[in-house]
């Protein structure tokens, strides 16, 4: 089916609307000097899978960004690599279980970071898996993600340890089932 094109005043048909593959579920604009941004009402039975696109305009230090699902505090795993811009090899990163997903590397004070995250089944009572691509002023990272608890989540928190975040946007999209 070709992408529908609507004109002002035109009737939206069920066929066209049910073909929309991605739907904006939640938007949060990050304020000034915050250490933690819980995003509520992100996940529901409406969608099995989600894309989260986040930007953080600036933070006060170099700590890695963290993403924590709202009903799990253990058994967070990431595995992948991080890189510096302009040369050097990949650094492998696959730590033992943590209390949050580590989703960024090579941060530095006053500089931005950006994230593209896919999550599979965060609302289901099942393990949650996903992937994150992040960029910063100094480099990038690609990680696969696993939370091994069979728990249903309705939201998540973006945070940094000991640093504060200023500016940016968090957008959550549902992939149509």
């Amino acid at each position: 089916m070709t992408f529908p094109s609507f004109a002002a005043g035109e009737v939206l048909t069920a066929t066209d609307m049910n073909a929309v593959g991605l739907w904006l579920v939640k938007t949060v604009t990050i304020g000034t000097g915050v250490s933690s941004v819980p995003v509520t009402g992100a996940f529901s039975s409406n969608y099995e899978n989600y894309r989260i696109i986040m930007t953080n305009n600036s933070s006060s230090g170099s700590a890695s960004h963290l993403l924590t699902l709202n009903n799990s505090s253990t058994l967070y795993y990431v595995s992948g690599h991080f890189f510096s811009w302009g040369g050097g090899g990949a650094t492998a990163y696959s730590p033992s279980a943590q209390s949050s997903f580590v989703i960024s590397a090579n941060n530095s004070a006053g500089n931005p970071a950006e994230f593209v995250i896919d999550l599979i089944n965060p609302f289901a009572t099942a393990r949650t898996v996903g992937s994150v691509m992040s960029t910063s002023a100094n480099g990038s990272s690609i990680f696969q993600m696993l939370n091994a608890n069979s728990v249903s989540h309705t939201g998540f928190t973006l945070s940094k340890a000991g640093d504060t975040m200023t500016g940016g946007t968090i957008r959550v999209y549902g992939y149509r089932n």
């Binding site: 933690s36 700590a63 580590v102 090579n106 100094n138 945070s159």
Partner: protein, 38 residues
């Protein structure tokens, strides 16, 4: 001593004791990975 700021939707405020405990749990083994461009 003041607590870190938390943002829920458009509200930004200091964390409550309970929220601070949750935050400390979330960051307790948080690393700093990569070499910052100091």
């Amino acid at each position: 001593m003041s607590k870190p700021l938390i943002q829920i939707d458009d509200e930004i405020r200091e964390m409550t004791d309970e929220e601070h405990a949750v935050y400390l749990e979330q960051i307790k083994d948080a690393p700093t990975i990569g070499t910052p461009d100091e």
